[in-house]
Symmetry: C2
Subunit: 339 residues, 2 copies
Amino acid sequence: MHSRQICLASRPAAQLEPQNFEVRESPLPTLENGEVLVRNTWLSIDPSIRLRLDDVVPSGYLPRFELGEPLVGLALGVVVDSRSDDFVPGDTVSHMLGYRDYAVVSATAGGLGGAGTLTTVEPGTWPLQWFLGPLGSSGLTAYVGLFEILGIEPTDTVWISAAAGAVGSIATQLARRHGCTVVASAGTRQKVDYLVDALGASRAFDHHDGDVGALLADAAPDGIDAYFDNVGGGHFSAALDHLRPHGRIAMCGAVSTYGTTAPMPSNLFQITAKSLRINGFRAGAYNHLYDSMRSIVGPGLRDGTMLYEESVYDGLGSAPLALIEMLNGRTRGKTLCRL
Amino acid sequence: MHSRQICLASRPAAQLEPQNFEVRESPLPTLENGEVLVRNTWLSIDPSIRLRLDDVVPSGYLPRFELGEPLVGLALGVVVDSRSDDFVPGDTVSHMLGYRDYAVVSATAGGLGGAGTLTTVEPGTWPLQWFLGPLGSSGLTAYVGLFEILGIEPTDTVWISAAAGAVGSIATQLARRHGCTVVASAGTRQKVDYLVDALGASRAFDHHDGDVGALLADAAPDGIDAYFDNVGGGHFSAALDHLRPHGRIAMCGAVSTYGTTAPMPSNLFQITAKSLRINGFRAGAYNHLYDSMRSIVGPGLRDGTMLYEESVYDGLGSAPLALIEMLNGRTRGKTLCRL
């Protein structure tokens, strides 16, 4: 029995390219006690993996991938063999050994980075892949960022960047449902229209249309109370300038800075001047809130008051393309690879 | 009756120079109802005023000074005339119209920037000027930063920068008294020795001795839990690298960045990677904690278990020199001008 895996073939230059990856086939080891063999069916394509492709990864983050090493990421699959009492063939599971077709997963280990423990998924009537998206880590990230980190109030004006993406699109709708005034930004005109027309953002802008700070000031002339940061860099800097006193930032990702060495914003003194609060977070620390999140997002998606889009790429070999397209802003909603 | 005032004569280039200031004499207006005439006796010389000397001040901060305009700052003085029922001649007061010998102060207005309302000071047996220092805003800033913003615990390793300064020296001692391991940094060998030998820092370093990050890593090889930032710039960046997961930063000042726009490599992603929390604050929002702070710092100073130093400059005309010397790291403890 063999597994086909997306491996790092070379470190990317400025732009990530298909030739930075290769598919390698390797024999699967015999299952040890406590291990489970999973046939993956859906792979989550997430931006932060970009950081681990570089030679130097920010300290405190997960380690870099070595050349030739298979990538990892969130995945859904079906158990095909088990030497664990907790899993039987046919079980649907989520785990962290994505970017491959078959995976041997420990049923007991805490998962890579503590965020990927093998978990049974009971999709019920939901499309399975939604447990990687709005009912999975994307939805949890949006929920935690808004309610646990930013502590949004209905009176708040909230800016959400990358708002047409997997996390941003859920965050935009959750903030709107909570009564907030939502300013949303994205990278194409089409996405901007979608944010206002379909997702209910009060104002939206394409960050390519000029200086981000000027676009934000135009969209929120009285300033913002909270910023959900999926982009970093110049977006983060613009938020510092336009937050009102005692404003908050939730830093969940910094896709604009991945693979770059952007200089530090020189307006950090705004944090002191306006008594701002900034929190980085990773949704993996809030798994106890999955039920709370799903109790809002699930009914919303079912009754059509919330929307969700997917960009699906078919076949393991398309996973690198999916990643490149997403990082270049050419996907919408959740980016997935279907096996 | 005339008042002599330190006015901005020209905007500073890279270095602040004595010729950027001039003493101007102007007639005092007749007291209106609700106003008090104060003869200033002590002027607080604080670093953040540097920001207001430039053409462009960070938005959200107090406005710039115009050319020819008198500076303002915390001051102590004696009431010499009053048209307010709340103040009589002979009262000792604090207010925000420093950098001059006589000031007409409103007894009712909220003060410049909301931080300087005319307040009666009852020094008791304390040296009066301590109400600008360890028992005043410097002490409050240290106390609030440690206990309200960072929420220090005895098990924490806390880094305090500019630790031989007015705020840092009190913060160093309060953190040590709380049981923390204190890493302190300053700008001269003499200050470093003082921090360890007199103020009880566990480790200390001179930030001129090499890369701040390397010096910090050497002083705290297992990382830090909290950082009290009085310096900003490269110090802030080093803290991001060396904070442990869920670490905290209190941003109270950024003296290294005042008057500069030096860019630096960005490691802001550390905030996300390690789930850091960063809070800017201004002590002026915590005036209700003066009594709590004084109940710790007062007895500590009285019984000699806490120490406090002053750098005193005599005469109004020496105020610019005091400011320049402080910004260049040549003062220790609280910098004051005595009239």
